[in-house]
């Protein structure tokens, strides 16, 4: 392709609004701009002066799809600021709530956003019910999403902005019988998830990224909620230190701030987690998905899709274990004593590492808040990936539509969330 001006205004099948412009001149990639087009809602300013008990439900509204991740991360930061330790039952319920999110959110991305690419369709709504394979995956899409959704509803009261999860515990506890019903539904989707893993391994694309650093919060049970930050070099840091290594970059054409980690472009999310912690997955997941785990560590960014599918299986296996060992005891949320302090909360949201740092006054009001979301951290990597693909394949690309499709699949492989990414004012770490 000699010359091209491409402006992809609304990238489809992602969460929120993003666009990409590409300029090719004399057969060379002249310019690539990936921009997040969501308008800011200024959450980090709006939370100032808000009460610690109200904060998690407010910041959950940053994003509909990642809402429970924001909820859990905000609760963790508040409780750390107040030096409060939640009850063992609360810890288990939070894990279950998060596993419900992981299942539902990854399933939405893989079945609704990614699967049409693998079947050369525009939408899952175009799947042919008379084709046995397409019919089967359509069935699986709704079944797997529904199971994750139900786990969230059973534990949190709703799968989006879960009303029962609060600072100090849960305002309402799940019914033991309902948990058992969820357990059976989770077991019932296990084969569907294995088929999805097989399909992604077989059909997904390839783009080997060069010099990409990975970072993720990993613990011994791959819980997404605890652990230390691991990175490709093998370095480990405590979650409180994570913010010290983030470098914010203003991208003038994007509504969202981009980030580098230790001065390098890096990736967070399922691929990073599997690259750094696959040995910590549930034992049944490792048994069932063993042959697919051998591809990790991988620098193929499309393997983020495969990694997400494996994480669904891990979330299923871990949730079943947790439910089997859980006997709900009546307990109410404990209201932590208000005190002045600062707290960091770091968790692995479905799309990657989510960071909250909150400063609280002695009355329990938020003085200052900093929030770094996964898509902000991946934003620069997305643009560089698009550029790399174009540079490597420029001689083989003939049609504008072909480039549009590929750009969309590259963006989708990162599973970005624009609602999350664009709602903070810039800030600088020292």
């Amino acid at each position: 392709m000699h010359d091209l001006d491409l402006n992809l205004a609304d990238i489809s099948k992602i969460e929120g609004k993003a666009s990409c412009s590409i300029k090719i001149r004399n057969g060379k990639v002249d310019d690539v701009k990936f921009s997040i087009a969501e308008y800011k809602r200024f959450y980090t300013k709006a939370i100032q002066g808000k009460d610690i008990l109200a904060l998690p439900q407010l910041t959950a509204r940053i994003c509909g799809t990642c809402s429970n991740a924001h909820l859990l991360c905000a609760i963790k930061a508040v409780e750390n600021a107040l030096q409060f330790t939640p009850s063992p039952q609360t810890v288990v319920l939070r894990k279950l709530l998060n596993y419900g999110l992981i299942i539902r959110d990854h399933a939405l991305h893989l079945y609704v956003f990614v699967l049409p690419d693998l079947f050369k369709k525009d939408s899952i709504l175009d799947f042919d019910e008379n084709d046995p394979i397409e019919h089967k995956f359509l069935d699986s899409a709704f079944k797997v999403k529904a199971a994750g959704n139900l786990l969230g509803i059973t534990v949190g009261g709703r799968s989006v902005h879960a009303p029962y999860a609060a600072v100090g515990g849960f305002t309402r506890l799940p019914d033991q019988k309902q948990l058992l019903e969820v357990r059976n539904k989770l077991l019932n989707i296990r084969n569907d998830v294995l088929e999805l893993i097989e399909l992604l391994n077989l059909r997904d694309s390839k783009l080997i990224r060069k010099d990409l650093l990975y970072a993720a919060l990993i613990d011994d049970e791959f819980s997404f909620l605890n652990g230390r930050i691991l990175e490709t070099s093998g370095k480990r840091i405590n979650e409180e230190e994570f913010g010290n290594f983030l470098e914010s970059l203003i991208i003038p054409y994007s509504q969202a701030t981009g980030y580098k980690y230790r001065g390098k472009i890096y990736m967070v999310g399922a691929l990073a987690r599997l690259n750094l912690g696959k040995d910590k997955l549930h034992v049944k997941t490792k048994q069932s998905a063993g042959k697919f785990l051998s591809v990790f560590p991988s620098d193929n960014i499309y393997h983020n899709n495969l990694a997400q599918a494996i994480e669904i299986l891990h979330a299923v296996d871990s949730s079943v274990d947790l439910i089997d060992n859980l006997k709900i005891s009546p307990e109410r949320p404990i209201l932590p004593q208000r005190r002045e302090g600062a707290g960091v909360g770091v968790i692995e949201a479905p799309r990657g590492t989510l960071y909250y740092r909150l400063e609280v006054d002695n009355l329990g009001k938020i003085k200052k808040g900093k929030i770094v979301v996964p898509t902000g951290q991946n934003q620069i990597g997305i643009e560089v990936s698009i550029r790399q693909y174009l540079e490597e394949n420029i001689n083989n690309l003939q049609k504008k539509e072909e480039i549009e499709n590929i750009v969309e699949t590259i963006v989708r492989s990162y599973d970005p969330c624009m609602s999350c990414a664009s709602h903070f004012l810039k800030f600088k770490y020292l």
């Binding site: 609304d10 489809s12 099948k13 992602i14 969460e15 929120g16 609004k17 969501e38 308008y39 800011k40 809602r41 200024f42 959450y43 300013k45 709006a46 407010l58 509204r61 940053i62 994003c63 509909g64 799809t65 809402s67 539902r104 939405l108 609704v112 049409p116 525009d122 939408s123 899952i124 709504l125 175009d126 709704f142 079944k143 999403k145 529904a146 959704n149 709703r158 799968s159 989006v160 902005h161 509504q255 969309e408 609602s419 004012l425």
Partner: protein, 162 residues
């Protein structure tokens, strides 16, 4: 081929929580609706998009910029019914929280962004700009009310099996 209800789903400034709820409602209703509803535009699920001659447009989110306002007006012109979905569309909040900022320094701090990306001076709810035929309140939207609205329009537009 039997006539279908031509719907569009459009998101403006919000968390897209109602979009997520809608995709979860499809877990139970997709097979019931596939012969009744023609999805003309829903960016989260498909690339093809048309806002010509819609029966019902569902609008999620508040209006933050002039370009969003223009798009909303265009949708209104091309749809018979328009439904505001979720709290940002219905009452403006929480997306309009910057309207409440009173601190002068804070407003100065955000002013640069508002100017650079051509934000409106105030964030508006949908009914501030166009006529709204129905509201589905909630943050996220109330599923039961949404289903009532869908069933009402299936009946009103004479779609079979409604």
């Amino acid at each position: 081929m039997a006539r279908k209800l031509k719907i569009g789903w459009f998101s403006f400034s919000c968390s897209e929580d109602s979009t997520i709820i809608f995709t979860e409602i499809l877990n139970d209703y997709y097979r019931q609706w596939k012969n009744l509803i023609d999805f003309k535009s829903i960016l989260v699920m498909q690339r093809k998009s048309s806002i010509e001659d819609l029966d019902v447009a569902f609008i999620e989110g508040a209006i933050t910029s002039d370009s969003q306002e223009e798009k909303l007006k265009k949708i209104r012109k091309n749809t018979k019914k328009l439904v505001a979905v979720g709290s940002c569309a219905v009452i403006g909040m929480p997306s309009s929280q910057r309207n409440q900022f009173v601190d002068e320094n804070l407003n100065k701090e955000i002013a640069e962004i508002l100017i650079r990306f051509q934000y409106k001076e105030k964030v508006l709810k949908v009914s501030d700009i166009v006529k709204v035929d129905d509201n589905v309140p909630g943050c996220p939207m109330n599923e039961a009310v949404f289903l009532q609205v869908i069933n009402k329009y299936l009946k009103e537009f004479g779609i079979s099996h409604a």
